[in-house]
């Protein structure tokens, strides 16, 4: 495990999962990979398939319709995989707390979560900080 962690720290590939968000967190994730913030400097790269991913960035309250798909995606990802919940939506639902279409009180009721980055939407700096802190916990 230590060997794996040493390698993964150098270059993590993230996959973006939008689970009924308001789109804003998603757009801010795209902000990360474009010239303004350019996290490819740190070896962080957005990939197209969950089978290549080391980290899943999940946004949004998880609706009933999408919850089975999220579980399926989590199962498809090669383990170990880290899950980061982006935005207050994943933490507790933000303004959608009373929504009838919410599958769980928070994201970690549906799939295991390693880190939450609250904010509505969190600033790109906060996202970078969150991911770097997550990597810091790897030994």
């Amino acid at each position: 495990m230590a060997f794996y962690n040493k390698i993964i720290k150098k270059s993590i590939w993230v996959f973006h999962v939008s689970a009924s968000p308001c789109n804003n967190c998603d757009i801010e994730i795209l902000d990360l990979i474009t010239p303004g913030y350019d996290i490819e400097r740190f070896g962080i790269k957005l990939v197209g398939s969950v089978r290549h991913a080391d980290v899943l960035l999940v946004t949004g309250i998880v609706s009933h319709k999408i919850a089975p798909r999220i579980k399926q995606l989590y199962e498809q990802a090669p383990k170990p995989v880290f899950v980061v919940g982006i935005g207050t939506c994943t933490v507790g639902g933000a303004t959608f707390k009373q929504s009838y279409n919410k599958a769980g009180a928070s994201l970690d009721k549906i799939i295991p979560v390693n880190a939450f980055i609250p904010g509505c939407p969190p600033k790109p700096e906060a996202m970078i900080d969150g991911i770097v802190k997550l990597l810091g916990t790897l030994k």
């Binding site: 939008s18 009924s20 010239p35 798909r69």
Partner: protein, 409 residues
């Protein structure tokens, strides 16, 4: 030739949001396209009934993160429509300023994604580089990069700081210059031209029949724009509506690029006015009387429509939202059929669909996890039947006697 079905989504590297397309192809040619939505449904209209009017504004802001001032704009228009509330002049200028800043960054976002869809990632990165200063301007003016929370019933929540004007003008000049450059590139770059010209044509008749609106309709030669036709704050500025005749993806690009330049002009008019127009930014509204109101606003994607009914309490009794993509998305049927699959993706993206805004439908599951097919017509008939059963009085009244009489004759 045999038909083949290509499923696309809900999680696909190209698509930002979760949506599902069922594309039927014959060889290379698309013969039919169906889509399934409902992945993003969050139930705003129901939640809105439990919030006060001011809280509703923050809620509808979170319908969509990209047009996050269009929904509040239409929502306050609807609430103000109930009581014919007037807003101060300075508030009008601030509303227009925020709305146009949003239009610039939303259109730039479309340009980025369109570049990404045709495999032209350079364009994506460049356009995003120009978008970033706009977000920073928004942060300076409103305090947040997105979700500005500026709209209030009767005005705006935060005053514009006049000392920001010298910082805004250079950014607008830069955007204008870059857009002229982009328009030039679209004109003589063979890659862009060959991928976009004549692709996914939406004719004027189809645009009218499918009730397309916004840039999608304007690129097909339909001259509509709520900012000019039914202005609620926009009467203080001059708006030039851009219309192009052809209806292909190239024209949609042209309309959006020209609209960005036009938005820069509108913002400059506002900035000029801020120095002269001082005064209050909000008319205090104590209560909303019972009644109904509608609000319209030209969002970057088209006309957004809010309907609010109030019963005199402090929260809406019914809140209905109709987003522009709702009528723009079905135009796929007209524009995608008959073109090669490789062009279908950019055509799908060309209307700038926003599924977060659109999704007002839901898939329900019963306790055993079985899908409950919702057919609204069926459900409404069932409800009517149930109501009839409940409402029909048990004992015969005088009026029932008449029917009995006529039957027995």
């Amino acid at each position: 030739m045999s038909k083949c079905r290509i499923p696309l989504g809900p999680f696909h590297p190209l698509l930002e949001e979760a949506e599902f397309f069922n594309i039927k192809v014959e060889g290379e040619k698309v013969v039919d396209i169906e889509m399934e939505t409902g992945w993003m449904h969050r139930g705003h209209e129901k939640i809105s009934e439990t919030k006060t009017f001011t809280q509703s504004i923050f809620l509808v802001e979170r319908i969509c993160g990209i047009c996050s001032t269009s929904h509040p704009f239409a929502c306050v228009n609807a609430i103000e429509d109930i009581d014919n509330i007037e807003i101060p002049e300075r508030a009008k200028y601030i509303r227009v300023l925020i709305g146009e800043l949003e239009r610039i960054h939303s259109h730039l976002l479309w340009v980025c994604l369109a570049g990404h869809f045709i495999g032209y990632d350079t364009l994506w990165m460049w356009a995003w580089k120009y978008r970033e200063p706009i977000l920073q301007l928004s942060e300076m003016i409103t305090g947040n990069r997105n979700h500005y929370a500026m709209m209030r019933v009767g005005g705006v929540g935060r005053d514009f700081d006049n000392s920001l004007i010298p910082k805004i003008i250079p950014v607008l000049d830069m955007i204008e210059k870059k857009m002229v450059m982009l328009a030039g590139a679209a004109n003589d770059d063979p890659v862009l031209r060959s991928r976009l010209k004549g692709v996914g044509v939406l004719t004027k008749e189809d645009a009218i029949n499918y009730c397309a609106n916004g840039p999608t309709a304007r690129a097909s030669g339909v001259d509509i724009d709520v900012r000019r036709d039914d202005p609620t704050a926009y009467e203080v500025v001059d708006v030039k509506v851009i219309v192009t005749p052809n209806g292909d993806v190239y024209d949609k690009l042209v309309v959006r690029v020209l609209e960005i330049i036009e938005s820069c002009h509108i913002i400059k008019q506002c900035l000029k006015a801020f120095e002269k127009v001082q005064g209050p930014i909000i008319n205090k509204v104590k209560e909303i009387s019972p009644g109904e109101g509608i609000g319209r606003y030209e969002a970057p994607r088209g006309e957004v429509f809010h309907y609010i009914r109030s019963d005199g309490s402090n929260r809406p009794l019914r809140h209905k939202v109709r987003a522009p993509s709702f009528s723009n998305i079905p135009t796929y049927k007209a524009s995608c059929v008959g073109i090669p699959l490789a062009d279908a993706l950019i055509t799908l993206a060309s209307v700038d669909p926003c599924y977060c805004c659109t999704e007002r439908s839901i898939k329900a599951f019963d306790i055993n996890g079985k899908k409950i097919e919702h057919n609204l017509l069926h459900l409404s008939r069932k409800k009517t039947e149930r109501l009839q059963r409940e409402l029909i009085p048990k004992e015969k009244s005088l009026i029932d006697g008449i029917f009995d009489l006529s039957l027995s004759r």
